[in-house]
């Protein structure tokens, strides 16, 4: 009796693993197929604000680094802007000129870029930033950023790269997280960050931003 239950469980888990892997492979090939489809003019339009190598730019508003960003993260953000689940006045306008067909190709183009970080951030609290990034703040219920974003802050899958992100963008986005993102409801993936951003103080956010903004 026990053996057959075990076998059934094993078969089921193998089936699930296979499905997930196959699904993942399908998703990958969808990205690759569409990669060549983005018009050059549209890519150039993005770089007008985000920088010639998508390194980010600090204008009156801060335009974040897109270079080297995780493709799935970029795709999710573009969909969120299109569907108004992420509210941002500048990007809401940009979305009027973006179709869903363009999204995978744009994400691939940005992901492939690798300029050095823009830098220019303050450095007074870099050590604190590294400490929080690496070990979290257990007493404040803040997990180590590295646990999900990677020890090199390059991210993975839908979890964004933070390495080289603009200091002023990091401080901005972490401070207005729930006002801008996840407007579609609790199923939005950005809700995962809510408890963490709410448990961080302003100074801690600045420290983390100082640390990651210098990472290559």
């Amino acid at each position: 009796m026990k053996t057959s239950l075990w076998r059934a469980a094993l078969r089921k888990s193998l089936a699930v693993c296979f499905a997930v892997t196959a699904g993942g492979a399908l998703a990958e090939s969808r990205h690759v197929r569409a990669a060549g489809g983005v018009p050059e003019a549209k890519f150039e339009y993005c770089t007008t604000c985000h920088g010639p190598s998508a390194q980010g730019f600090r204008g009156y508003y801060v335009m974040p680094r897109l270079a080297g960003q995780q493709t799935l993260y970029l795709e999710n953000q573009l969909h969120a802007f299109l569907e108004q689940r992420r509210l941002n006045a500048v990007m809401a306008n940009v979305a009027h000129g973006i179709t869903t067909e363009m999204i995978p190709g744009l994400a691939e183009r940005m992901h492939a870029l690798n300029p050095p970080p823009v830098g220019g951030a303050p450095t007074a609290d870099v050590a604190l930033g590294r400490e929080i990034f690496t070990n979290g703040l257990p007493d404040q219920n803040v997990p180590a950023c590295s646990a999900c974003h990677g020890p090199d802050a390059k991210g993975q899958r839908e979890i964004p790269r933070l390495a080289g992100q603009l200091y002023w963008y990091m401080t901005y986005t972490l401070s207005i997280w729930s006002k801008e993102r996840g407007q579609g409801g609790r199923q939005d993936i950005s809700w995962i960050m809510r408890p963490t951003v709410e448990n961080l103080t302003t100074k801690q956010i600045q420290a983390i931003a100082e640390y990651v903004s210098a990472l290559k």
């Binding site: 003019a41 549209k42 150039e44 339009y45 770089t47 007008t48 604000c49 010639p52 730019f57 600090r58 204008g59 009156y60 508003y61 335009m63 500048v90 306008n93 940009v94 979305a95 009027h96 000129g97 973006i98």
Partner: protein, 203 residues
């Protein structure tokens, strides 16, 4: 005799009241000669009052290095900055940026609505970026990005046309931005911006 003394006293008081730097310590007359006695701009010379300090410094450096190479820059500003030392340049920039800017208000009123739409939203379907992303919602600029609000219609139009012609290619991203703009849109933007009030000269 008394009226002359009173007038002289009034002028002296005015000069003292003008700002943190006394008018005769800085050679501002070398600038206001063309840019207008109140630095609000005069014919082709743009308003300097209320302009971003870092932007002014960069432009002065750019003129001196012959990087900003449009026709009027070469004709007037290259020689104007040939003997300008960095400290004086920075002090001049600080002085002019502290003055309250006035809007030129010399654009075409019928084009203002179209100009505002382009300034605030760009034209995303034609890959034209929204100017306010960098220049701010009131065209006020920030840090090294210039204040556009209230500059004269002709000056704004000329700058966009110059970038379209390939001048000053290092002023990224403006050459690319200008190339995306048609003459009608340039006129609309320049018209809208010429009316944008610049009462506050906050940094």
């Amino acid at each position: 005799m008394r009226p002359i003394v009173t007038n002289l006293a009034a002028v002296a008081l005015a000069l003292v009241a003008v700002g943190p730097v006394l008018a005769d310590e800085l050679p501002i007359r070398n600038c206001t000669w063309c840019h207008g006695t109140s630095a609000q701009g005069l014919t082709v010379a743009p308003r300097l009052a209320g302009q971003r300090e870092d932007y002014v410094v960069h432009q002065l450096q750019s003129f001196a290095a012959h990087k900003r190479d449009d026709f009027l820059a070469e004709k007037y500003m290259w020689s104007a900055t040939a003997n300008l030392d960095p400290d004086t340049a920075r002090n001049l920039a600080a002085y002019f940026s502290s003055l309250t800017p006035r809007a030129a208000g010399d654009g075409e009123s019928e084009l203002v609505a179209e100009g505002r739409a382009i300034f605030e939203n760009g034209v995303p379907t034609e890959n034209i970026a929204a100017c306010q992303a960098c220049h701010g919602p009131e065209g006020q600029g920030v840090r090294e990005i210039p204040r556009l609000g209230g500059l004269s219609y002709n000056y704004l139009k000329q700058r966009l046309e110059q970038w379209n012609e390939g001048h000053d290619a290092l002023a990224a991203p403006m050459p690319k931005v200008a190339k995306s703009l048609s003459p009608n849109r340039i006129a609309a933007l320049a018209s809208f911006l010429s009316f944008v009030g610049g009462e506050t000269a906050e940094k």
